[in-house]
């Protein structure tokens, strides 16, 4: 199994302070990027704003999944745009603005809403059950068909119940379609950490959805089939 101690090496998680070597972190204004620092004209500022607001819906959805609260999601998104505007000179045109905005947002989320400390995530495999294995034992219904009978709200709920460190990886990779590399940059962790969190998150989702399917009668856990 890969790196059991992944989260121990990263006690504080996303740093509040800007780090110069972080490719998508906002510039702190002390140097680094010298491109367009003072010469940014109104036109490029406007095109920055246009591009940024183009990501509003997806940022808001992400904020809603992170905070699980519409009012907090609005605050988080607004603060994200304020910070993006303040640090717009550190954004290099033509690079991945969605990743840049998500990096700002998740750092704000941890700093402001979570006091900068990622919650503890269980590192053992307890409670992780493969939907596939379980269904194989207990039902004749094809697994994909079981998933199709689960309501949208229930899937969203299962995602929102994931531990935050797992949830944000699912949001970046599965919902937003980020590569492992881009997700790793947004989160400020190695790619291996993205992979192990993603794997655990998926097992947890399978378990949650299976339990829902059983509770709601979509599958029956009869042992004497």
């Amino acid at each position: 199994m890969v790196e059991v101690a992944e989260d121990a090496a990263e006690t504080r998680g996303p740093a509040a302070e800007p780090t110069p070597d972080h490719p998508v972190r906002p510039d702190d204004g002390t140097g680094g990027s010298d491109r367009g620092r003072s010469g940014r004209d109104e036109g490029s500022s406007r095109s920055f704003a246009e591009e940024a607001i183009g990501h509003l819906d997806t940022l808001y959805r992400g904020a809603l999944r992170l905070t699980r609260d519409p009012a907090q999601a609005e605050d988080l998104v607004q603060d994200t745009y304020l910070r993006a505007l303040r640090y717009q000179n550190s954004y290099q045109a033509g690079t991945n603005m969605k990743a840049w905005l998500f990096a700002i947002m998740r750092n704000l989320f941890w700093d402001r809403f979570r006091g900068g400390r990622p919650e503890d995530v269980s590192l053992d495999g307890d409670g992780e059950v493969s939907l596939y294995d379980t269904l194989r034992d207990q039902t004749a219904m094809p697994e994909a068909e079981v998933l199709d009978r689960i309501a949208t709200d229930e899937v969203v709920r299962a995602v929102e119940r994931l531990p935050e460190l797992h949830r944000e990886v699912v949001l970046l990779v599965d919902v937003e379609g980020f590569s492992y590399k881009d997700a790793a940059e947004v989160l400020g962790v190695p790619i291996g950490t993205v992979m192990s969190r993603l794997h655990r998150a998926r097992r947890q989702l399978q378990k949650a959805l299976y339990e829902y399917a059983r509770e709601s009668g979509i599958v029956h856990a009869d042992r004497d089939r």
């Binding site: 607001i53 959805r61 809603l64 699912v170 599965d174």
Partner: protein, 72 residues
């Protein structure tokens, strides 16, 4: 490739993070191994389901208006 090798690569396979050579190896195994093929289908399905379900709805209009005032 045995089943364990295949299952260890399944996340990366589903996420298109393998090299072309690795993709071919996994594909070859999946053709011959119905249990791994089932795992694969379930994973793809779950990924798509999460995407579709979490990708609905957008920002409220008043938030968009407020941000436009801030940004422009």
């Amino acid at each position: 490739m045995n089943c364990q090798d295949c299952l260890e690569r399944l996340d990366r396979y589903v996420d298109r993070e393998l090299t072309d050579a690795e993709i071919e190896e996994v594909k070859r195994h999946l053709v011959d191994c119905p249990p791994c093929e089932d795992h694969f289908r379930l994973q793809v399905h779950l990924k798509r389901l999460v995407k579709v379900c979490c990708d609905q709805g957008g920002a409220p209009a008043h938030l968009r208006a407020k941000l436009r005032q801030i940004l422009f």
